[in-house]
């Protein structure tokens, strides 16, 4: 009997605990989502500061502010932090907040695992960043850490780097298990797979990619560890090993990894475009199939990162053709977004502006990707700034813009307050102009012959590098406006309605709950079996 009474007593504790222990012990998907998002936001400024150092060094030819050795540490850690510390945690944070709300579930399926998968992440980055204070300096071999530069020739801190990567991988795998379990088991009655919101679909597929490739990354770094400390020669030619093996293993992880960083963006942008077009998404099922095909193809294209390692011609041709195939599902998605806007009734609030910029600039990044797929031409593009331009176009105005769009889109639902629209639009236009100023000229210097990852360059690249640096500083500063806008919304925002956006109610379950979303939502599942209740 007493157990019953106690549990009844517990029912009164609807709100969160107070103080730091709320965040440390929380198993609430909204709290953990916020933790992930704030972590990612902080790391954005850390990784961004490193990008500023890089652009300051490259502002003019000649040695400027840092040594070549420290420059390499900046390049390496900028890449690692932006990939593993910003884009991925931000998407996981959005998944935590939105997936239960979008499928009508009360929380994630494995709440304690959820807590653990977040809290080991700051530990991993603590380990990684602490290497800056150690003898020999931080990792300096690029975020792709090719052996033997990252093994025999690495600074001693490489062991800490390996440990950090292992922890990040464990965090990602736990997060993915949780997301898959939640989506497959906790959907509201009547929400069949083909009725799931696209963000949920994109994350279901992304989570499978993560589970497939994170162990491969763990294998690669473990082999490095063995080579460094236990006398093996996996990647050392002198001991009978194979440095190219490293690249195959790395990119077998690496290529799915870059799609892990873009697939959830497809889901987000689809929601935003349909909301502000006041029209249902065009070609829902083809959108799902396109995401699934991109994910499957991502396993058979990895060696297009390695066209210059001396593969046999059959290999070159296979990886060229398979890579070109990816353009088909990607093109389908872009055309579907355009068709969603076609004959819609468009308004241009901040999330929509970022989503439109995503579609336009992701298209540019996709087209340069298609050029890079052409193997003989890639002999000239490979490892130049053309590649840097390409992947920054898909990751910054691609993945990052989609995250910013998602924050503006759902912030009123999370906080219960509206952000400042004027500030939001200012943030957008500054970001849009500066992002192009930063990354577009990189195409030119790359084609003209500037290799990537160099701390100094020949005179003919000087003009464009200065423009790029100015653009980068402006882009970096603009993001402070974003931080300010989020804080202003949380502390001084005007109250938001439950629907937030005109006509949003029909665009997903998250718009049927109050703003801010109560600490616990959907404790009883909404019943979607009757189509009438859907609206």
């Amino acid at each position: 009997m007493s157990a019953v009474i106690e549990s009844h007593h517990d029912d009164h504790h609807h709100g969160p605990a107070k103080g730091f222990s709320r965040w440390l012990y929380t198993t609430n998907h909204k709290d953990i989502g916020s933790l992930y998002l704030w972590f990612s936001f902080i790391m954005l400024f850390v990784g961004g500061a490193m990008a500023m150092v890089i652009r300051a060094e490259l502002f003019e030819p000649g040695s400027q502010i840092v040594s070549p050795e420290f420059y390499n540490q900046m390049v390496t850690n900028h890449g690692l932090i932006m990939v593993f510390g910003v884009i991925m945690p931000a998407f996981v944070g959005l998944a935590n907040w939105m997936i239960p709300m979008q499928i009508g579930a009360p929380d994630m399926a494995l709440p304690r695992l959820n807590n653990l998968s977040f809290w080991i992440l700051p530990a991993a980055f603590g380990v990684l960043l602490s290497t800056f204070l150690m003898e020999g300096g931080a990792p300096n071999f690029g975020w792709t850490f090719y052996a033997p530069l990252s093994t025999e020739y690495a600074p001693p801190t490489v062991t800490f780097f390996i440990f950090a990567v292992h922890i990040m991988g464990a965090s990602s795998i736990m997060g993915s298990i949780n997301i898959i379990t939640t989506i497959l088991n906790m959907r509201a009655p009547g929400m069949t797979l083909m009725k799931m919101p696209l963000f949920v679909w994109s994350w279901l597929i992304t989570a499978y990619l993560l589970i497939a490739v994170m162990p491969v990354l763990a294998g690669a770094v473990t082999m490095m560890l063995m080579d460094i400390h236990f006398g093996t020669s996996f990647f050392s030619a002198a001991g009978g090993g194979d440095p190219v093996l490293f690249q195959h293993v790395f990119w077998f992880f690496g290529h799915p990894e870059v799609y892990i960083m873009i697939l959830p963006a497809f889901g987000i942008v689809s929601h935003i475009i349909e909301t502000f077009s006041r029209k249902p998404i065009f070609g829902y099922s083809s959108m799902v199939y396109a995401i699934a095909s991109i994910a499957l193809l991502s396993f058979v294209v990895w060696a297009h990162h390695m066209f210059t390692v001396g593969m046999p011609i059959a290999g070159e041709l296979f990886f060229m053709y398979s890579t070109m195939l990816i353009a088909i599902p990607t093109g389908v998605k872009v055309f579907n977004w355009l068709s969603t806007m076609f004959k819609g009734s468009l308004t241009f609030e901040t999330p929509m502006l970022f989503a439109i910029a995503f579609v336009a600039l992701f298209t540019i990044g996709g087209l340069s990707g298609l050029m890079l797929a052409i193997a003989p031409a890639d002999f000239q593009y490979h490892d130049t700034y053309f590649v840097v331009a390409h992947f920054h176009y898909v990751l910054v105005p691609g993945a990052l813009f989609s995250i910013v769009a998602a924050v503006y889109y759902w912030l009123p639902k999370w906080t219960g307050y509206m952000y400042d629209e004027v500030l939001g639009k200012t943030h957008f236009w500054l970001s849009f102009i500066s992002v192009n100023l930063t990354f577009f000229p990189m195409h030119f210097v790359g084609l003209a012959g500037m290799p990537r990852r160099i701390p100094d360059y020949a005179m003919q690249f000087a003009d464009y590098n200065m423009i790029v640096s100015v653009g980068a500083f402006l882009f970096g500063l603009s993001q402070l406006l974003f931080l300010f806008n989020v804080l202003k919304c949380v502390y001084y925002g005007k109250s938001a309605t439950a629907e937030v956006w005109e006509g949003a109610k029909g665009k997903g379950l998250e718009w049927t709950v109050d703003s801010p979303a109560p600490y616990h939502t959907f404790e009883t599942s909404p019943d979607l079996t009757n189509p009438q209740t859907n609206n």
């Binding site: 070549p68 600074p155 194979d242 083809s286 004959k343 009734s345 490979h382 192009n436 003209a448």
Partner: protein, 376 residues
């Protein structure tokens, strides 16, 4: 707002005109048949992608302008069209097939690895290139020749800043040259844009690339795979000369080799060794061990005050000749002559106060030759 967007998107194109000719913004048109062919392929693919980009962004601009809610448009309700989905999927597939045909043809042509008239073994080292003419048994290293003052903004930068070396890779015009590319330590990548050759130099592997240059000229390139702290400072300079001049070059190189042997036999004074040693040290050692001999802990040990440098001559010779297993220190037996090795060892033993606390013994070129002979 939309018009503003279009202007923004066009800005980069306008800047093309404003800054310079196409050279500064596009790929090298190529100095060889293969280079020209790859440039042609690049331009074909570029124009196709450009057209697609203009069509998609143009359609988008039109939609954004036409269907604004401000204008009072009502949203339509449609959400699918199997016909359209099929049509554009097939359209994409056709475009891709169209692109893959010229790409495949060029790929096959680039992959011709039959033997050349002249075969040159290229070895990447941290941070210099070694060129070995296999048939003529001539070998030398090619180092960056841009001065530290230029790099540190203490002197005006020259026209070929960071793209100049002490020894050019000289090749004859009109001959088929095959490059065999490998590396000694980490992965490097040998790239000369005008030849459209970019091949990774990987320890334990030999990759191939080939070229045939018909007009004399100087062609510059750079290492394109991150290979450590001075990755940005190992350029490539290839000089194509007439076959006669090429013959002359090979003869000179062979004579220089004989002269070196004579120099080894000569008796050297301490002053001569010190003067030469300082130059060798500046060129080959300062990157890691620093000008003041303090090194960079913990990877690059200090030479100033080192027990080996002060007291253990035999071990120091051995390190220079064999390198240090598992560390960045490589063997200099191939890169430097006997005289140069003797000189640089003498220099380190007599500098930074090492001669005060250590033996300060000099090393004669003959001792290095003896080391080599004994090893055989």
């Amino acid at each position: 707002m939309t018009i503003f967007r279009i202007i923004l998107l066009a800005l980069p194109l306008i800047s093309l005109q404003a800054f310079a000719g196409w050279d500064d913004v596009n790929m090298s048109p190529g100095a060889t048949a293969l280079g020209q062919e790859i440039f042609g392929l690049h331009m074909t693919i570029f124009w196709i992608c450009f057209a697609i980009g203009v069509a998609v962004l143009g359609a988008m601009a039109f939609i954004l302008f036409k269907y604004r809610k401000k204008e009072g448009v009502e949203a339509a309700k449609f959400d699918d069209s199997t016909f359209l989905e099929f049509t554009w999927t097939i359209l994409f597939a056709l475009i891709l097939i169209g692109m893959s045909i010229p790409a495949t043809i060029t790929m096959i042509r680039a992959y011709d690895d039959t033997e050349g008239d002249i075969n040159i073994l290229i070895t990447g080292h941290q941070w210099k290139w070694q060129y070995e003419y296999i048939e003529d048994e001539v070998s030398f290293f090619s180092n960056l020749s841009t001065s530290l003052d230029e790099r540190n903004n203490l002197a005006p930068k020259g026209e070929n800043y960071l793209l100049e070396v002490d020894e050019h890779l000289v090749i004859p015009t009109g001959a088929r040259i095959r490059f065999l590319i490998t590396a000694n330590d980490v992965i490097h990548s040998w790239w000369v844009p005008d030849f459209a050759i970019k091949q990774d130099a990987i320890p334990g592997f030999v990759n191939t690339g080939w070229t045939q240059v018909n007009e004399p000229g100087i062609f510059r390139g750079q290492c394109t795979e991150l290979c450590g702290q001075y990755h940005g400072y190992m350029p490539i300079v290839v000089e194509a000369v007439s076959p006669d001049e090429y013959k002359e070059f090979i003869i000179q190189k062979k004579e220089a080799k004989l002269q070196q042997a004579a120099l080894t036999e000569k008796l050297w004074t301490t002053e001569e060794l010190m003067a030469m040693g300082e130059g060798v040290y500046q060129k080959n050692c300062v990157a890691c061990h620093q000008v003041n001999g303090e090194g960079l802990a913990p990877v690059f040990p200090a030479l100033a005050g080192s027990d080996i440098v002060m007291n253990d001559k035999a071990r120091q010779i051995e390190i220079l000749m064999e390198g240090v297993q598992g560390a960045a220190m490589q063997s200099y037996a191939e890169q430097l002559t006997e005289v140069e090795i003797a000189a640089v060892i003498t220099y380190t033993r007599k500098s930074w106060g090492n001669d005060a606390s250590g033996t300060g013994e000099i090393v004669a070129p003959k001792e290095i030759l003896d080391y080599k002979t004994n090893k055989l």
